[in-house]
Each structure stands twice: as structure tokens, then as C-alpha cells.
């Protein structure tokens, strides 16, 4: 198995951008080092021989956790909107959005 390339400063800047984090130059250096160590640690797994282990989407040996399609009461709207920074017409008021929903 070939080793994936180690984490670079550009990768960290990209990921920070996706998470809407603005990092200073010093922070970028610091997090590049830290994240690289985290990823190296996770990479230890690739040293294991897993060729006879089936892939899994979840660590629990559980399938089909379901509920019946029965309505149950939610939250009171006033209570919900009281937690919002801004409200208009019973709805959450948010800043102008550039672009359309993904």
C-alpha cells in the first residue's frame, strides 16, 4: 500500500476555508504540524493487515434502527425563535445570502 502524501500547509488553508475559519500565518504553521501528527497517528491503521476484514459503515454491529411514522409534538415556536439572533414574521432572519442553496 502506497503512503498518501503528507499534509501540507495549502491543505490546511483549504480545509480552514471550507470551515469558514480565517487563520493567521502563524496559526497555519502551527495547525499544519498538529494536523499532520493527527493524520500520521490515524495512518497507523494502514500498517495492519485487514485483507480479510469486511468494510463497515459503522462500528456498532447494529442494523435498521427505525421508528414508526407517528407524529409527536415538537417545540413551541416562541421558545424556538427566542433563541434566534433575529426574527421576522415567525421566521429566522439571516443576513443577505450570496448565491443559491447548494
Amino acid at each position: 500500500m502506497s503512503e498518501p502524501p503528507s499534509l501540507g500547509r495549502d491543505d490546511v488553508a483549504h480545509v480552514a476555508g471550507l470551515a469558514r475559519l480565517s487563520l493567521s500565518e502563524e496559526e497555519l504553521d502551527m495547525f499544519t504540524g498538529q494536523l499532520a501528527r493527527v493524520i500520521d497517528h490515524a495512518r497507523d491503521v494502514s500498517s495492519l493487515d485487514v485483507h480479510d476484514v469486511p468494510p463497515t459503515a459503522h462500528p456498532l454491529p447494529v442494523r435498521n434502527v427505525l421508528r414508526t411514522d407517528d407524529p409527536c409534538p415538537g417545540l413551541d415556536r416562541d421558545e424556538v425563535l427566542a433563541a434566534a439572533p433575529d426574527v421576522e414574521d415567525g421566521r429566522f432572519k439571516v443576513p443577505r445570502i450570496v448565491g443559491e442553496a447548494p
Partner: protein, 503 residues
């Protein structure tokens, strides 16, 4: 290129543009349209996909919300079994393989999802690899049909209401978490007409499975189109653009036609199309860029740790398959069978309309009451389809009685239409009473014969020509009889009487 060539020949400006337009038309014939559609279908469940909040359209904003669909810390999603059932029915109806599946988080920042991610299915969707056969016999491949949650509804507030000019937005989370199945077709569609046919047929299939109410205007069905062009005979696909905001069949057809023309012009002028997402502007009748490939979202999909994998057993899958209702193709065959004999081209069209609009059960019920299928079919395809909302809640017995009255000559076609219109407007009623109220007394056979006889005697020259075999004069005599009876005569009875007299 053609403009430059014409200019070099020293022709006038108008000749240049005419030559350009001619070349344009000739080139269009060399281009092939390639379309794949993504249809989002809201499922007809009582509750949302991962919580017990009501799945309802049109309620007061933010009244169907809870910690799960508001993304409050510590809340956990639990999958709705009936949404899974409906997704499996859709998979069965589209001839997909229904498989074990899992959920992923699709991360993005946009206020329509308070969690900042949407739970969707990524590399292990519940349905893969099916197809949909269209009424014209063509077949469109289905790539996948997966489960995901809907987003909240964002309303942009500002002077024009348009996104780019909005000052702020208001968000209603009633729709956030409503179950969706996204049906992704293969790029098998070759024209805007076929795209419309595909959506019409898919809609009818979704209604038949009980998964959807099929209401595009309420957003129950939403369509995005992936459009590209290539030269006829080319194997490789062109660069595609995804067109969003297609809220009706009409928008879908117009947007594809516009986008194809734009791309052909672009390829001819510059050689390439830039891959991007575009927004259909219904009022302007054109698509405008939304974001380019470089600006495309990086969704950072990862497995949803709060949900375990889904692996419905064979019993459940079999139950879902049995629960799929009569599909549109079978419904069309059933109607055609009732007609007895080969349907006329008009009847084929009527059958398509009636099945696509979900009116075929009314026709079947009318026939069961003794109405001839042809009469019930034509009234359903025209009068009922014209007032669909009222027609779908009309008592089949009432419709059956009107069809029987028309078939037995108690009402003429014109009168039957008027009675139906009244019944639809009133939401029901007694057809016989309405007919009487409107003075629609049927002419007795005896009095009709007398009127026909009188008309024949008044036009001896026409009658001798008709008797000699000039059949088109039947229309003349029918018109005269209609005039004499104030439209109360039944056209078919008149035709029969004319035939009888001619023999």
C-alpha cells in the same frame, strides 16, 4: 465564421446576418442534445425523515420543528421506517436493485440547514441501476434513487425579491428534514420534449407508488437538468451545465431549449463550454451562471456516525414491491383494453392524458356503471383534465352517470360538457337535476325523426346529392337539425337517422 466569409465577399450587412442565420440553422441539425435529470421527490409520510415532526405543506412557519431538525446539540436522528418503505417502492417501480445502504453528512454553509450539513446517501444508495419506459417506447436509465432530507425554505427579502438584490433572508424550517428521494437519470434524454415526457411519466409512477402527491407547483417534485451538446455521431459527451430552478414542465422544456442553443453557439464561437451551475430565469427566458466548477462546493462527505446502516430484509423488500400500485404503463393498457379494438390516435393521446393526470380510475368506474369507455375517456381527457383539482375529488358515480346519460342520448355532447362543468364547479350534485334545470331535455326518438324528416324535405337538392353518396353533406344536415332543435339533438342519433333515411 460564415459572417467573416460573407464579409470577405463584399456583401451587405443584412446579407451577412442572413447567411449567419442560415449557417446557424444548418449547424443545429448537426448537434445532439444530451440531458440527464435529477428529480427530488418529497415523500408522502406523516413525519420527517429523522424526527417525529409533522411533514406538512403550508403550515405556519417554524411550527413543525424540534431539536433534531433544528440541529440542537445532543439531539439524535432516528430513521423513519415508512420513508424507507416508500423509497423501496420507488426502487421497485423503477426496476432498480434495492440494496443495503448507509447515510453520509453533506457539509455546507447555508442557512437552509441549521445543522450546516444535510444527511444524504452517498456511496451506498438504497436503489441503483433501473430504468423508466416512456409512453413513446423509449427507455431512460436510472443511475440511482437515494434517500435524503429536504432543506428549510429560504425567502429572500429585498426590492425585487431576486437573490442577488436581496437585503436579507427569512428561513422557515418546517421543510427541513422532510424525507426526499432523489432520482438521478442517466444522460439518456435527447430532447426537451423527451425530458418533459420523462418527468410526466416519472410523476405518474411516483403517484402510483403512493410515494408522492406529484404537485410540482407546491415543490413536491423538483427538477434539475444536466445539459450538454455534442456533434451527431460523437461518442464522447460534451461539457455539461447543471440548470436549477425548474419549477414546471414548461420551465424544464424552455430551459433545456435555451441552454442547448447557448451551448451550441458557445462551442461554435469558442470551441468549449465552461462547466458550471446555472439558474433558470423564467421571466427573462434564459439561464444565468450561478457558480463555476472552481467555485463548486466541496461537501466533505463523511459517514453519518449517528445512524447505523440500513439493510431491509427480503420480507420487507417483497412487501414494498407488492405495495407498488398499478403503474402508468399498466393503467394505459387497462384503459386501452376497455376501449375494445385498436384505439384511434386521438384515443391514444386521451389515454396518455387521463393516466398522466390520474383520472383513469374515474373512467374505469364510469365503465363499470355501463358507460361506453370511449365516451368516458373523451370527457375525462377534456373536461375533467381541464379542471383537475375538482375532477380528482369528484365522486366517480356522478361522473359515471353523466357519461351514461350522454351515451344513451339523454344529453348531447355539448350538454354533457356543460353538466360536467357545473358538477366540477359545485364539487358534485345530481346530473339529472342539473340537466333539467338547464332545460336539457333530450329529444325523444320520435320527435328527432320528425325534425330530421322536415330538414330533409326542406333541402331536396342536397338530399339527392347526399343520397348519391356525397357523405360530407351529413355535416350540413346535422347542422340544420341542431339549428332546428336549438342544439338539443344528439349528433350520433342524427347521423344514425340520416343513414336510416338514405337506405
Amino acid at each position: 465564421m460564415s459572417a467573416a466569409g460573407a464579409g470577405a465577399d463584399g456583401t451587405s450587412g443584412s446579407a451577412v446576418s442572413a447567411a449567419g442565420a442560415g449557417a446557424d440553422r444548418a449547424d443545429r441539425a448537426e448537434w445532439e442534445t444530451v440531458v440527464g435529470l435529477e428529480v427530488h421527490c418529497e415523500l408522502e409520510t406523516q413525519t420527517k425523515l429523522f424526527c417525529g415532526c409533522k411533514n406538512a405543506f403550508g403550515d405556519e412557519p417554524n411550527t413543525n420543528v424540534c431539536p433534531v431538525c433544528l440541529g440542537l446539540p445532543g439531539s439524535l436522528p432516528v430513521l423513519n421506517a415508512f420513508a424507507v418503505e416508500l423509497a423501496m417502492r420507488i426502487g421497485e417501480a423503477l426496476h432498480c436493485e434495492v440494496r443495503p445502504s448507509s447515510f453520509h453528512r453533506k457539509n455546507y454553509f447555508y442557512p437552509d440547514m441549521p445543522k450546516d450539513y444535510q444527511i444524504s446517501q452517498y456511496d451506498e444508495p438504497i436503489n441503483v441501476g433501473g430504468w423508466l419506459e416512456l409512453p413513446d417506447g423509449s427507455r431512460v436509465g436510472i443511475e440511482r434513487a437515494h434517500l435524503e432530507e429536504d432543506t428549510g425554505k429560504t425567502t429572500h427579502q429585498g426590492e425585487t425579491g431576486r437573490i442577488h438584490a436581496a437585503d436579507y433572508a427569512l428561513v422557515d424550517y418546517n421543510r427541513a428534514g422532510v424525507p426526499l428521494v432523489e432520482i438521478v437519470s442517466r444522460p439518456d434524454i435527447r430532447s426537451s420534449a423527451q425530458a418533459r415526457l420523462y418527468v410526466t411519466e416519472l410523476r405518474a409512477v411516483l403517484v402510483a407508488t403512493g410515494a408522492s402527491d406529484g404537485r410540482m407547483e407546491e415543490g413536491s417534485l423538483r427538477v434539475d437538468a444536466n445539459v450538454s451538446v455534442r456533434r451527431v455521431g460523437a461518442v464522447a459527451f460534451g461539457t455539461r451545465c447543471e440548470v436549477k430552478n425548474l419549477n414546471s414542465l414548461r420551465s424544464l422544456g424552455r430551459a433545456i431549449d435555451h441552454e442547448v442553443a447557448r451551448q451550441v453557439a458557445l462551442v461554435e464561437a469558442t470551441g468549449t463550454v465552461v462547466q458550471e451551475t446555472r439558474h433558470w430565469d423564467e421571466n427573462a427566458g434564459r439561464t444565468v451562471p450561478l457558480r463555476s466548477k472552481e467555485e463548486a462546493f466541496d461537501y466533505r462527505y463523511f459517514p453519518e456516525p449517528d445512524l447505523v446502516p440500513l439493510a431491509p430484509g427480503s420480507d420487507w423488500r417483497a412487501r414494498a414491491a407488492r405495495a407498488v400500485g398499478l403503474l402508468p404503463s399498466a393503467r394505459r393498457e387497462r384503459l386501452a383494453g376497455l376501449l375494445g379494438g385498436a384505439p384511434t390516435p386521438q384515443q391514444v393521446d386521451q389515454v396518455h392524458v387521463v393516466v398522466a393526470q390520474g383520472l383513469d380510475d374515474l373512467v374505469v368506474a364510469a365503465v363499470a356503471q355501463g358507460a361506453p369507455a370511449g365516451v368516458a375517456l373523451v370527457r375525462a381527457a377534456n373536461e375533467l383534465a381541464a379542471d383537475l383539482g375538482a375532477a380528482l375529488v369528484l365522486d366517480p358515480g356522478i361522473f359515471g352517470r353523466v357519461a351514461v346519460m350522454e351515451a344513451q342520448g339523454e344529453l348531447t355532447a355539448t350538454q354533457a360538457k356543460a353538466v360536467l362543468a357545473e358538477l366540477l364547479a359545485a364539487g358534485g350534485g345530481d346530473p339529472a337535476a342539473i340537466a333539467a334545470e338547464k332545460g336539457f331535455e333530450a329529444l325523444s326518438e320520435g320527435s328527432l325523426a320528425a325534425v330530421v324528416q322536415g330538414v330533409v324535405e326542406a333541402h331536396p337538392e342536397e338530399w339527392s346529392r347526399y343520397s348519391a353518396g356525397e357523405d360530407k353533406l351529413a355535416g350540413f344536415f346535422t347542422g340544420q337539425v341542431m339549428r332546428a332543435t336549438g342544439g338539443k339533438a344528439d349528433g350520433k342519433a342524427v347521423a344514425a337517422e340520416l343513414q336510416r333515411l338514405r337506405r
